[in-house]
Symmetry: C2
Subunit: 247 residues, 2 copies
Amino acid sequence: MADRFFRRAGSCEIVKKLAAKAVFERGLIDEGDRILIAVSGGKDSTTLAWVLSELRPILKKNYELAALHISSDFCSCCKKSALSKNLAGWDIPFTDLFVPVMGRLGEGRKMNCYWCSTQRRTELLTYAVKNGFNKIALGHHLDDIIETFFMNMTAKGELSAMPVILAYRKYPVSLIRPLFYIEEKQIVSAADELGFSRSACTCPWGVNSMRRDMREKINAFTGASPAVKRRILRSLSDGPRDLLEEP
Amino acid sequence: MADRFFRRAGSCEIVKKLAAKAVFERGLIDEGDRILIAVSGGKDSTTLAWVLSELRPILKKNYELAALHISSDFCSCCKKSALSKNLAGWDIPFTDLFVPVMGRLGEGRKMNCYWCSTQRRTELLTYAVKNGFNKIALGHHLDDIIETFFMNMTAKGELSAMPVILAYRKYPVSLIRPLFYIEEKQIVSAADELGFSRSACTCPWGVNSMRRDMREKINAFTGASPAVKRRILRSLSDGPRDLLEEP
């Protein structure tokens, strides 16, 4: 995409263009898709819901959108009313599902991010399958993908990233990540333009500090340069093994 | 290799073990090989020459070693006498070849690192082929490989590193990099133990500043942790496309 476009366009326009590019290039949305958007109430997933509704006339495909929020024991602070109002404005039905994550924790076991996210992911999948959705859209962006790549490389010694489309073998459903071309700061800026609240549910166990450390290291490493980040993303698809496709 | 070994062994022993591991794993040296070592007089290539002579009884293969130094117009300060004395002690014949790099520069053209290194690499190849060497050994180490990987990723958007063995298509000769498992600081330490001079020919055009910057960024990124660097190296060979093999 021409640099001139990025200099002149508003953030919402940039987010729309880059999401459309992602959807076209990777075939993320097909005619007749029933897409469940996983929403937390935060800027990423709210922007995802907004852009997927905005893309309807551009993609020229019939697809259905719905949004699912997963609440848990330690999530009572969500701005769910603002979220559901926004979603209603974009004609996206909203469901809030309560999952007692704490209650499921075995006796003597400690809460951890991995276990909690597995519980929530399983509920999301189960809900999608039960309700006939064939795609689940997640709000991961370019910075999330680069962070995952570097975390897998430095912590696991693996060359892998997040696939932008992943068909589950056990379930008749695929994950899609339509925001993979978009930097976090572009999403923040679009969310500001659109007046979304930046505050999401804050987990009392704190943010994932490993990911936060990695984010700071990557910013130092790339000089927070968008051009460098785009080249890193491009390199992930370079050659015979495309790290943005499912392994 | 056991962590205990690394804690207890001397640097020379570590360098020998890791070079042997590299040679065995990647099949870098075969029976009857005639190997030309590219030596600059610096710690890396001097350590390479030393370790290849030390590996003779371990590898249990007959191979011939020789060393070639390429001098140029702006290289008059080399510690060639110390180098040739060391090489003689390891039973490695030494040749010094003068290449008038400056004289070859077209009128009005400026000297640059890429052009100069291409000139020198061509001379190295031509010399090897003319004199019946089938392998050329280069002193690139683990830090060089990681730097190249990150430079290719961030500057070119390419997922590629340095191959540890590369067969030229146009010439009957292969490049090998037996030090790829060894960190620079391990080489420095071994060179100190062996009493090699650390000073190499200093290029008046200065060190490659892009590489130096990348080195600093990688040190910040990895916390200069050997374990992290080893996981990065491992990731390069992870999966169907091995970035340490030729593309």
